[in-house]
Amino acid sequence: MSVGILILIVLCIGIAGFVLGRQRALSRAAAEGRRLHSLPSYYGQSVLLFATVPALLLLGGWLLVQPMAIEGRAAAHITQADIPEGSSHDLVMADVRRIAGGLAALKAQGNLSDDDLARMRADLTDIRGRLASAGIAVGDTVKPNVFEAAKALAAAQTLSHMLMTVAVLAASAIGAAIAFLRIRPEARARNVVEQFILALLIGSSMVAILTTAGIVLSLLFETIHFFQIYPAREFFLSLTWNPQFRGGSELGIWPLLWGTLYISFIALLVSVPIGLLAAIYLSEYAGKKLRAFAKPAIEILAGIPTIVYGLFALITVGPMLRDWIAQPMGFGESSSSVLTAGLVMGIMLIPFVSSLSDDIINAVPQAMRDGSYGLGANQSETIRQVILPAALPGVVGAVLLAASRAIGETMIVVMGAGAAARLNLNPFEAMTTITVKIVSQLTGDTEFASPETLVAFALGLTLFVFTLGLNVLALYIVRKYREQYE
């Protein structure tokens, strides 16, 4: 039975429970001649909630835990000798999973009975051919142990699936029955339902905590794992980044950190003056018409996905900078460069800086402007000497938030900055960033236990700590130094 149908059945039980529960409440109230404590539909709702929510939670949890629990058993069949040269345990297990999937598909088509399966042996039967008929392609000939593991996996999956179906249906039925039997006219159904819903609301708001915990734990565990096979000293102090997938890599973070900071610096150099001046002009000088047009236009920039900026850097800005500036002046030949990524990222950050600064400038009270004008200052003097100092903490906070955005930005640097890890000052050369290397180390067929892959988690943790630190600092500055106007 597929998961979709299972969910539908649970929902049907719930809806039937709702109708029956409501009727039962009404009929019992009529029979006993009492008034119901709650509205009739609350009795129905209590049955509905008890029938569906625990069962669906069980289903979700089971689906999440099942692969881990049963793959361990199948993996026990694989010995060291079954892992071919140049391959790894993970790859062999992927094969096992594919074959198990093929066996399940064959069974589903009715081409394979349980007896057949028990008799099938890798060294006797043409497994490849049978699997190919089910649309599953297997690389080379299947080794006996691999096939045994796949058989065990397929069997465990079937068993687990059956148990899950039974357990979920039982949970649903039991929940419905308990709630149904509890229906009496004096039962406080509304209170029960509201408590239940409140619990659901609390549970939903816990997702945020769970997500953060998930991020921190997954980054932390894999980073610890990384430092067990690669010296932390090298990672933090080495000045070269040179991953070799055959081992003997040098994985120093400095070239990446330098690229990240350099590009972010250029991006801020572009976005902070433009964004701040645009915000000042729009809130202090611009007429209604210009504001009505320019403000949304700048905000459109914020709604454009970063992949669009990336493509812009790749096909327009990069070649332009190379052909017009870098090549004629002999700075470099590369179209992907620090300057390309920095410029484009700067454009992306303009609306970020300008809308944050706009809010802050508008929060400065009119009385301060009036006071300044009263002393004879003109508009620009008022802005520079009264408004900006008053808004400074907020502006600094906005700049820090923009910096945290710039450091964590991925697509623009992947497409605009290049992949060469360098410690260099020339902005027309390609350099690379932390995010680019996370992408390049984790995409493609990678073996999970090698330092070259695990380093991505250490980089991710660095990134997470950096951006989190900047955000906390920004909030702190804004809170600490904000002028309180009445």
């Binding site: 793959e71 998930g214 709604g303």
Partner: protein
């Protein structure tokens, strides 16, 4: 007194040096501000025009119109029952196509001197024969008839008419020769070859490195749609439930503070970190398949949640307390007051925030790269819910994928895909604006 000052500072009608300096500084400052505004708007215009200008070509494709007689001797040598038809390979159809092209060329009197049949057949897309075969397999009654078939021209020929390929570049290119380009020009003049709207760009799956002319966005659009479905189904209820709790029920305590801090931090976590989370938790830990919309949907849900929670809380806050008080006053419980009265009134704001969150999620690329959505996927995923577990691509990832390929024809397609993405985003934002305008109440 005025006399005295006038004698020191000169006339008020004549600005002194200091005033002139101050006024000049004022004008300069204004000019900087205006310059910044103009610069940002120009950046927007330049960005959009460069991407849009590059991409429109992807919607039009060079096709060669052929009248093909589907000779049963070639396409159905062993009868027309489906199994026998399926045995005829693409190569057979390819030969048929080649014959037709040459016949068409001689019929129109186009000079093909100095070109071998192989050169001429190489001007067709490598996928054209497969297209024809699919057409026949889908409708065997066509066999024996003469049909009009639009065969795609090779990507290089197409590039010539779009200005991407020139005679000079063709001379250096092993895939196309100047003679072929000249012939293509003669074919266009004879009306045999033309640029036509290409619906396949929106519906066809991705194609391999050598066949840019048939690469389409079908799988990517479907994958993105699946992910948006998952995000909507998970993030909307979760986000609304969390906001209701935090805004209406949560007591002021440590736990509430912790939740609030977490939500605001999650909103600022770089998107790629969510990708790492997806890879570590959903794929490695929970064993969900790589490149599957379900994993992408879950990751994007977690990313969108803060957006939805923040806008939902604002919408709930905007509902005046008098509504709650009135409901409580006539005997509603707190839960009833919120679900029956506050929530419906806040709904337009919630939906607006949700749509904007979805639009953000639709354009998100980086986390999807890490969970394997860059893989080359040609098969359409099945219908949901099983299809959620099939490999698929996503619109922004498809763009990235195409930019990494060598043939410049894929750049044009990447820009075209961006146009499609932007159309979706504009449509979603327009719906959000309309919702806000139509239903938002001012209290």
């Amino acid at each position: 007194m005025t006399d005295a000052t006038a004698s020191v500072h000169g006339s008020l009608f004549q600005a002194d040096a200091r005033t002139r300096r101050r006024r000049a500084a004022e004008t300069r400052f204004r000019a900087y501000g205006l310059g910044a505004v103009i610069l940002s708007v120009l950046a927007l215009v330049f960005l959009l025009s460069s991407v849009l200008g590059n991409g429109t070509g992807a919607f039009r494709q060079s096709v060669i119109r052929l009248e093909i007689t589907l000779d049963p001797a070639i396409v159905a040598p062993k009868g027309t029952d489906p199994e026998a038809l399926a045995k005829v390979t693409t190569i057979g159809y390819g030969r048929l196509l080649d014959q037709e092209v040459i016949a068409e060329l001689t019929a129109k009197g186009i000079d093909t001197a100095g070109m071998s049949a192989k050169d001429i057949s190489a001007m067709l897309s490598k996928e054209a024969a497969a297209d024809l075969r699919r057409m026949v397999l889908a409708d065997p009654s066509l066999i024996g008839q003469t049909i009009t078939f639009d065969a795609f021209a090779n990507g290089r020929i197409d590039g010539y008419f779009k200005g991407r390929v020139t005679m000079e570049s063709a001379a250096l290119d092993s895939n196309v020769s100047p003679a072929q380009l000249l012939l293509a020009e003669r074919m266009r003049d004879a009306g045999l070859l033309r640029l036509a709207f290409n619906p396949g760009f929106l519906t066809a799956p991705d194609a391999s490195e050598l066949r840019p002319e048939v690469a389409g966005l079908g799988v990517a659009i479907l994958g993105s749609a699946y992910m948006m479905m998952i995000v909507l189904v998970l993030a909307l209820p979760l986000g609304v439930a969390a906001s209701i709790y935090l805004e209406e029920f949560a007591p002021k305590n440590k736990l509430t503070d912790l939740i609030e801090v977490n939500i605001s931090n999650l909103a600022a976590v770089p998107s790629i970190v969510f990708g790492i989370l997806g890879l570590a938790i959903f794929i490695n830990f929970a064993g969900l398949p790589q490149s599957a919309p379900i994993v992408g949907g879950l990751v994007l849900t977690l990313m969108t949640l803060p957006t939805i929670i923040i806008s939902t809380r604002a919408a709930l806050k905007a509902v005046p307390p008098s509504i709650r008080d009135a409901a409580l006053g006539v005997g509603a419980s707190k839960m009833q007051a919120i679900f029956h009265h506050v929530l419906p009134l806040a709904m337009p704001g919630i939906l607006t925030g949700t749509i904007i969150g979805l639009a953000q999620a639709l354009g998100e690329t980086a986390p999807l790269l890490l969970i394997g959505m860059v893989a080359f996927v040609r098969d359409f995923p099945a219908a949901p819910p099983e299809g959620f577990f099939d490999p698929a691509s996503a619109l922004p990832v498809q763009v990235y994928n195409w930019t990494t390929r060598a043939d410049p024809a894929f750049m044009e397609r990447a820009s075209g895909a961006i146009i499609v993405l932007l159309v979706f985003l504009v449509a979603m934002n327009a719906v959000a604006i309309v919702l806000r305008r139509r239903f938002e109440r001012r209290w």
